[in-house]
């Protein structure tokens, strides 16, 4: 999977905007949106919010978790805990990037938020690498990936799957008679 595909999935998340135009309810396959009234907050998917924002038709209200204090709390917890802690949003990395790139004027302390999210990401990736290493070295057969987001799994997927595949093949050599004794045609 490509990161841009993950980003595409993230654009389905809902975010609150304050429009400065009025429009009746619009009916889409994915659900009804609106009605839009100037100054009245309304919830729309991220793709629409970014589109309206680019046309300067709305102001994006930052998600609740996108707040310096809350992110600092999460970061400290993430550093303290051995295991993965629950993240505020399953697409925290993608949403941060999308919202901060397109609507940084609506979000106070954008730079701090960016740094904090990157810190959280780095801590989690280091943990992921550590657990992948212990997973391999203990030759475990299965693992539970709690609280991991799609983007995080995606960065390590091909590497981990390939190496598990190699491990499996090398291990299946250890089973005596698994493929021994098959006729060889030359």
């Amino acid at each position: 999977m490509d990161p841009s595909e993950v980003e595409f999935l993230a654009e389905k998340e809902v975010v609150k905007i304050i429009p400065n135009f009025s429009l009746d309810k619009i009916y889409l396959i994915g659900g009804d949106l609106g009605p839009f009234n100037p100054g009245m907050p309304v919830e729309v998917p991220v793709w629409l919010a970014l589109n309206l924002k680019q046309r300067q038709k709305c102001r994006i209200v930052q998600p609740e978790w996108m707040d310096v204090d809350k992110l600092e709390e999460i970061r400290d917890l993430e550093r303290k805990e051995e295991t993965f802690t629950p993240v505020p949003s399953p697409y925290y990395m993608e949403l941060t990037k999308l919202l901060l790139n397109h609507a940084s004027d609506n979000i106070p302390k954008a730079d701090e938020i960016r740094t904090l999210v990157k810190d959280i990401w780095d801590t989690r990736i280091a943990k992921l690498r550590l657990s992948a290493d212990s997973f391999i070295s203990q030759q475990e057969a299965h693992a539970k990936l709690d609280n991991l987001t799609l983007m995080e799994i995606n960065t390590t997927r091909s590497f981990l799957l390939n190496s598990l595949n190699c491990m499996y093949k090398l291990r299946s050599n250890l089973q005596p008679g698994s493929s021994r004794g098959k006729s060889q045609d030359y």
């Binding site: 490509d2 990161p3 841009s4 595909e5 980003e7 990037k97 790139n101 690498r129 992948a132 290493d133 391999i136 070295s137 203990q138 030759q139 983007m151 995606n154 960065t155 390590t156 997927r157 091909s158 590497f159 390939n162 190496s163 190699c166 491990m167 093949k169 090398l170 291990r171 299946s172 050599n173 250890l174 005596p176 698994s178 493929s179 021994r180 060889q184 030359y186």
Partner: protein, 250 residues
């Protein structure tokens, strides 16, 4: 999304090799030290060191893996194949001490593949190797990296028949595991730099893993820097040149 125009067939790694894999084809040309157990008439040209017409019984020569596999039979002994040096005990102790320092590329670039292929030649009559391997097995710390029930399983096997391949397969896996962390770290951290120094000591199997790790890292970094959103021409189109009419006409 970047899809390569050519996806190579992965090597089989296990005892079964993959017929379409280029790596496995190259692997089948690895030379194995072997000893002829009977006379091969008129095949003297295969052995470059002597001028005789026949290959005498008891001649020691190197033969490629594909030939050894074809000639080897457990019931009628035509050739006996020895373990290459890398899989022998001396090297196994090196691997169990610290697998990360070994230059696996130099030790025969298909370390894991060849090791798995060596399982085709179990030679229980080879007492000194069997002995060495039994020792090696006994030296493994119980309940260490390999689960103790697995180890018990191995020892039972060893006592029933000195089935020697198991222990070097074990050291194969341990080598892989021992080197895994380094392969992973180097592949996931080396961004935008020359990786030739990192991969030069890796086996071909590990190189493929390294590449997979790099592709994950690179695509993520590309996305993070916002380069994924800009459209680029496909590499196929870029490589495509217009045919000239003079090339087509004879």
């Amino acid at each position: 999304m970047e899809t390569p125009s050519y996806v190579p067939v992965p090597p089989g790694v296990g005892m079964e090799d993959n017929f379409f894999s280029l790596d496995d084809i190259l692997l089948s040309h690895e030379r194995l030290p072997s000893r002829m157990e009977c006379l091969f008439p008129r095949l003297g040209f295969l052995e470059k060191s002597s001028d005789s017409r026949d290959i005498q019984e008891g001649t020691k020569m190197e033969m490629p893996l594909f030939l050894a596999k074809g000639l080897y039979e457990r019931k009628r002994r035509v050739v006996s194949v020895e373990l290459p040096k890398v899989y022998k005990e001396g090297w196994r102790t090196v691997f169990s001490a610290d697998p990360t320092v070994v230059d696996l590329h130099k030790m025969g670039p298909y370390y894991y593949g060849l090791g798995s292929q060596m399982l085709h030649f179990d030679s229980p009559e080879n007492p000194e190797i069997a002995q060495a391997i039994l020792q090696c097995c006994a030296e493994w710390p119980p309940g260490g990296a390999i689960g103790s029930n697995m180890l018990g399983h191995f020892q039972k096997l060893m006592s029933v028949s000195p089935c020697l391949p198991l222990s070097w397969m074990k050291s194969n896996i341990m080598t892989f595991i021992g080197r895994f962390r380094r392969t992973m770290d180097s592949s996931q951290n080396a961004y935008n730099e020359d990786t030739s120094a990192l991969v030069e000591r890796l086996d071909y199997l590990e190189r493929a893993l390294f590449k997979a790790g790099q592709s994950g890292l690179n695509s993520f970094q590309c996305w993070e820097r916002g380069r994924a959103s800009t459209l680029t021409a496909s590499s196929l189109v870029l490589n495509y040149r217009k045919r000239k009419i003079t090339d087509l006409q004879p």
